[in-house]
Structure formats: structure tokens, C-alpha cells
């Protein structure tokens, strides 16, 4: 048994060494296909993650027409926090608003020198419970809120966020469809590459069949070869993906999407990495099986 396994592995390795070009071609094909699918996956996952983060940060900001008196603030705060769905209430005075703005400007804060302290309006910031962070619930919250406060302007990033969520959903759908196509294409290419190697070795297959090798005996080394190539392809795709992630995805996402500072881009988890490599192996085995069927016949 051990003797056989050893023989099969040696055969598979020798076959690969004998046709280095074809072997490299199928490994690269698999690596690129898998890396492309995984890249799509990463982009979708990260955008979804971002959407989730933004949803968490949803709040209703009510800018006030008149600055309420100190006493009134406490009373209003109390009333606001009793609206169902409101989790936190923060009062931002005109002074605080200016401070924040200054901080936001950073080095350019000098622009604000000489500006009146009441440039910015005072506001209430209402944090919502997560189940209230959608269009309908926010509408009712706002209805209540308008009864309490004399509101100049309301801000809540709801509409565009829902649109963003829709966009992420579409992106995910495209990702699944495209990924499916890509995997299918990869399977096709891999199977064709293996077919080429089999074609180059058809004499060998013929002679094997002639000297009484069983189907299994002929097939196993080729399947093993497919598996090894798949494994290498999978590992290589992981390398491609890492490089691509570090140098392209993370840079473009962080600069494009104005991500919050604390937002860490997600890479594949350990399990997903293993899945990626294993799908390479499966791809390789399926590829060689499908093309072997056409070549080895008695």
C-alpha cells in the first residue's frame, strides 16, 4: 500500500517535471482565477462591513433655531430621551460646535480666528437603538422631535445609506455571479490545460492501458497531479491576493471611501484562506477528472 502511494506520488511529480511549461500554465491559471474571485469577495465583504459601520454611526442631528437656556437644555434632554428609539442624547452648544470644527480643520484652524462664537448653531445629537436605524423608524422619531424642539435643520444619513446598502447588495450579487463565472472559466481552462498535458502523454496512456494497468492505476497519478497543481495554485493565489490587498485594495479603499480612522480592512480569515487553497485542490482534481474521461478509454 505504502509502496503504491509512494509510486503514485513519484509518478505525479515526475509527470510535472516532464512538462514544466504546461504544469506552470495550469498552476498560474488556477492562481489567477482564484485570486480574482477572492479579490471580489474581499471588496464586497469590506464594503458591506463599511456599510455596517456607518449604520452603527447613524444618528439624528437637530440644529436649533434658538439657543436654549441652560435650564431648558436639561429639560429638553429629558424629553428627547423619552422618545422611543432614542438611546443617547447629546447637547452640542455653539461653543462646542466651534471647538469641534476647529479640531476638524487641524492646521487650518487659523481660518476661524476672528470669527464670532455664535457662528455655528447649537444642536442635539440623538443616538438611536439599532432596530430604529431605518427610514420608517427615523421618521417617527423625527415627528416626535419636531414637537419638542424648534428645529432649523435636520441631518440623518439615512437615505443615502440605504442607497449605499442597496449598492452593496448589488455588488454582492454581481460578485457571486461573476465569481461563479470565473470559477467555471477557471475549471474549463484548467481542464483544457490538463487535456493538453494528457494529449502530450497519450502514448503513455495507451501503453499503460496496453500492459494491463487498471483505470484507477492510470487515473490516480493524474488526479494527484491535478491536486498538487491545485494546491500550488491555491497557495499562489493567496500570495497574489495578499500582495494585491496590501498594495491596491487597502490603499484605494482607505483613500476613496473616507473610512473612519478606526476602520480596519478585513482580509480573509484563516478558514477562508484554507477554503481558498482547498478550492484550488478541488479545481485541480475536477479539472483532471473531466479531461481524463475523454482520454482514458478501454
Amino acid at each position: 500500500m505504502l509502496d503504491k502511494i509512494r509510486y503514485f506520488i513519484l509518478r505525479a511529480l515526475r509527470n510535472m517535471r516532464q512538462w514544466p511549461f504546461l504544469c506552470t500554465a495550469s498552476i498560474l491559471t488556477m492562481a489567477i482565477a482564484l485570486a480574482t474571485v477572492a479579490t471580489f469577495f474581499l471588496v464586497v465583504v469590506n464594503i458591506e462591513q463599511l456599510a455596517l459601520r456607518w449604520t452603527q454611526e447613524i444618528q439624528v442631528i437637530a440644529y436649533l433655531n434658538k439657543v436654549p437656556s441652560q435650564n431648558n437644555v436639561a429639560k429638553l434632554k429629558d424629553q428627547l430621551s423619552r422618545i422611543s428609539g432614542v438611546e443617547t442624547v447629546i447637547y452640542v452648544s455653539q461653543k462646542e460646535a466651534l471647538e469641534r470644527f476647529k479640531k476638524r480643520l487641524g492646521e487650518d484652524a487659523s481660518l476661524l480666528e476672528g470669527v464670532k462664537r455664535d457662528l455655528l448653531p447649537a444642536s442635539f445629537e440623538l443616538g438611536l437603538f439599532s432596530e430604529y436605524r431605518n427610514q420608517q423608524q427615523i421618521a417617527t422619531v423625527i415627528e416626535h422631535l419636531e414637537n419638542i424642539l424648534d428645529v432649523d435643520d435636520l441631518r440623518y444619513g439615512q437615505k443615502w445609506l440605504e442607497r449605499f446598502n442597496d449598492f452593496a447588495k448589488i455588488l454582492r450579487f454581481i460578485g457571486i455571479v461573476l465569481g461563479g463565472f470565473l470559477l467555471f472559466a477557471a475549471l474549463f481552462i484548467v481542464s483544457n490545460t490538463i487535456k493538453l498535458t494528457l494529449y502530450a502523454r497519450r502514448d503513455e496512456l495507451e501503453i499503460m492501458a496496453l500492459v494491463g494497468a487498471t483505470m484507477r492505476f492510470i487515473k490516480i497519478p493524474f488526479m494527484l497531479e491535478g491536486a498538487i497543481q491545485g494546491l500550488l495554485g491555491g497557495l499562489l493565489s493567496l500570495l497574489f491576493l495578499t500582495i494585491f490587498f496590501v498594495f491596491v485594495i487597502s490603499r484605494s479603499l482607505t483613500s476613496f471611501w473616507l473610512t473612519p480612522n478606526s476602520f480596519d480592512l478585513l482580509f480573509l480569515t484563516m478558514n477562508q484562506q484554507i477554503t481558498l487553497v482547498l478550492s484550488g485542490v478541488v479545481l485541480g482534481v475536477l479539472g483532471s477528472l473531466s479531461s481524463l474521461r475523454r482520454f482514458v478509454r478501454f
Partner: protein
């Protein structure tokens, strides 16, 4: 050992390669299959090692009916049969040793057994000193001897040879014929397809003659 009953082989619609052939070959016989090219010699041999199935009729080998053999059984049938071709069918990328060992490995033999038998088989054909050469570095005659060693290394019941000397000159042909005779002397049934009548003159044996797929002659050798 080999029995054919009313065997017919048709390819496609009209072309008939073998027509209604019935014959028996006993164990240990040495038989020539004569006939011009296209007479059906190769088709007959191919049916014997089950590369083709007869369209009609029955073929028995070693009492096993192979006319409707299942593909899973074919490898086991072929282990009883050594085949030698005009074009040798050696693996050019493998050494002489590997080419012969191939037949044993394919049958799942143990490694120490393989190396022993391969050496023996190569010694019988006189090529034990060429173990590590590649086939293309050798002459045609030597290549054919490797092919014969590969066919014989598995101790087949039957040796089939399809124009084995077709590409070789006279002297080499004699060497090859001697190898077949030796194998035959050890009990292997030998079937040799050839259009070369001179072989028969040197080594008179039973001759089966085919013409356009029909069996038109079955002569026993004249006793000297």
C-alpha cells in the same frame, strides 16, 4: 488457448475488416498470420487484446469469452497477453529500465520484484547493459528488443506481435525471431502477424492466411 467462432468485425457501415473467421489455436503454438496489408491481421490481433470488440461471433481466450467483456475486466485480460508492435511503442522520455518496469508497475508488483524481473527480462534480450539509456539512443533492433522484454517480463500466456520486424533489417529480424522462439519454447503461445513470407521459410510454423478479412488458408508446417 484462443478460439474464434464466426467472428466478424465491421467498422462503420460497409467496411468489413474481418468476415466470419473461425479458428482455434492451442496452448504453446506458434502461428503466423499472413496476408497483404489491409487483410485484417491487425484487426484480428486488436480483437484478441480487446482493443476492439467483434461485431458478431465469439472470442475465447484462456476459456474466457471476451466478445462482450466489461471494460473493467480488460486490464486483467491484458495481463495475460504481451503485445509487440512494428513501431515499438516505447516511452521516449523513460529509460530502458523504466520502459520495461512500466508493465510490472502497472500490475501493481512490488519494487524488489520489479527490479529483479526487469533485469532478467533485459538479460534475455541481451540489453542488460543498456538499463539507463533512453530508447532513442538505441538502434531500431535494440528498441524492438526492449519492447519484447516489456511484453515478456509479465510472463504472458500469449504473445501477440504485429509486424514486429517491419522496420528492421534481415539480421535484426533473425535475432527478434529467435527471441519469439525462445518465448514459445518456454510455453508462451505466439501469434505473429506479418506479410513477410521469408520468415516462414526459415522458421516453418503453422500459417493462417487472411485475405480481405476472410480466412483463406490454415497450413500446418511440412514436417521435415
Amino acid at each position: 488457448m484462443i478460439q474464434l467462432y464466426n467472428v466478424t468485425k465491421k467498422y462503420g457501415g460497409d467496411s468489413t475488416a474481418i468476415k466470419d473467421v473461425t479458428l482455434q489455436i492451442s496452448k504453446g503454438e506458434f502461428v503466423y498470420i499472413n496476408g497483404a496489408s489491409g487483410a485484417g491481421k491487425t484487426t484480428l490481433l486488436r480483437m484478441l487484446y480487446s482493443a476492439e470488440k467483434p461485431t458478431r461471433g465469439q472470442i475465447l481466450i484462456d476459456r474466457q469469452n471476451i466478445s462482450r467483456i466489461r471494460s473493467r475486466q480488460i486490464p486483467y485480460l491484458r495481463r495475460k497477453i504481451g503485445v509487440v508492435f512494428q513501431d515499438f511503442k516505447l516511452l521516449q522520455s523513460r529509460t530502458v529500465y523504466e520502459n520495461v518496469a512500466f508493465a510490472l508497475e502497472a500490475q501493481g508488483k512490488k519494487r524488489y520484484e520489479v527490479s529483479k524481473k526487469v533485469y532478467q527480462a533485459l538479460k534475455e534480450v541481451g540489453l542488460e547493459h543498456r538499463l539507463q539509456r533512453k530508447p532513442l539512443e538505441l538502434s531500431g533492433g535494440e528498441q524492438q528488443r526492449i519492447a519484447i522484454a516489456r511484453a515478456l517480463v509479465v510472463d504472458p500466456l500469449i504473445l501477440l506481435a504485429d509486424e514486429p520486424s517491419g522496420n528492421l533489417d534481415q539480421d535484426v529480424t533473425l535475432e527478434i525471431m529467435n527471441l519469439f522462439k525462445q518465448a514459445n519454447a518456454r510455453g508462451t503461445t505466439v501469434l505473429l502477424a506479418t506479410h513477410d513470407h521469408s520468415l516462414n521459410k526459415r522458421f516453418p510454423r503453422r500459417i493462417i492466411t487472411l485475405d480481405q478479412g476472410r480466412l483463406i488458408g490454415d497450413q500446418q508446417p511440412l514436417q521435415a
